[in-house]
Amino acid sequence: MALILHGTVSDNTAVLDRPSSKPIIINGNMAVAQRDGAAVAALGDGDEGYVTVDRIRHTIAGTTAGRFTSTQEFVNDIPGFNESLNINVTTADTSIAAAEYFALEYRIEGQDLAHFAKGESTAKPFTFAFYAKANAGFDFAVGFRDLDNARHCSGALFTTTTGWTRHVIQIPADTTGNFTNDANESLRISIILHAGSNFTGGTLATAWAGYNAANEAPGIDSIFSSTDNFISITGLQLEVGDYDINSIPPFQYESFGDNLIRCQRYCRQHTKSGNFQGVMMGFASATNNCRALMYHKPQMRGVPTVTKSGDFIRSHGTATALSFGVATNSLDTATIDWGGTDLFAAEQGVLITFKENDAFIRADAEL
């Protein structure tokens, strides 16, 4: 369903023909944080991946001394938003080696990008907008990277302020290279906060070109320059078309429930919210083994990695923590082997529950 919006802006009358009914960026308002909504500290000693808010990747390359805390931060000083992602530096890195890199990334499946017509003569421009605030004015870069055709474009640097500022980054249309129509990553949007000379040694790629790391982030400052530093972001938005700060359409809101379901295509975490809460049903094949069914709903982007943390037990039995293994896995379900000596009655159904400590079981099919 196309959504047609009409509105008067300061420089002209804008007519927005938004070609999708839902925002392209999922969880742009940082509302969903399945993995951990609280502060996650001591990050930066490796590629951190997804740690707090859903869909926002913390990508680290090289070996930096910089360390940071990532938090889903509740905000009340930006109308229309309740949450942001906060990155707070806890250890500085003022000696930046060439290979160091830290970016907050949003990665998109190729099959969700057809409406940009990339690679065609009718290709459409991209506009990326977001709100940011920091402890001072920093220049950072926003990089767009086409993984299918090894191309990139970094638009222009943006400068933070100590208040919330909406930044609008225009990326031109690219008539070279189609996005691949599949569920794998085709487009990577990177807010680059720290980079060594491997990524800053060239000239900022303000037009689409073959990927050259040195042209990703020339001229940026480093978020790791001081432990005084922080940056908060929210309201991430990607639009088809060419907009500026006057014509960019409003942030497109989703209900929390819709947002959560869209996030669960990439990650579904069942976190304990009460003692002995049920997790999954299984059937004991013997006194030491039970095979149980774990549903992935909605269907996941790809076959997920399954991770368990904390202790699980069988209901109405000895409260001995069970061993855990994954027997089979698919887009829709996994079968889990729970084990323990003489904990089951053979040929009987079993309810697996959380024990008393913090625990979760997660299916992760992130990009």
Partner: protein, 63 residues
């Protein structure tokens, strides 16, 4: 995926001689076990392959 410590194939549940479809992975500094599918659309599997390509790193056979 952060720095991988160990990786080991999980024996298939029905036919142990079949090709494994899951790798059990642990990360440096963590005792948590991650069960990664042998599937190139899974980014953790790609990270395991990258790790295994480094001299000295091996995905161990299933028990």
């Amino acid at each position: 995926m952060k720095t991988i410590n160990t990786a080991q194939y999980v024996a298939p549940p029905i036919d142990a001689s079949a090709d494994p479809t899951i790798i059990k992975v642990t990360l440096v500094g963590s005792s948590m076990e991650h069960f990664v599918p042998v599937d190139t659309s899974n980014t953790d599997y790609l990270a395991v392959l990258e790790w295994a390509a480094i001299d000295g790193n091996t995905i161990a056979e299933a028990d």
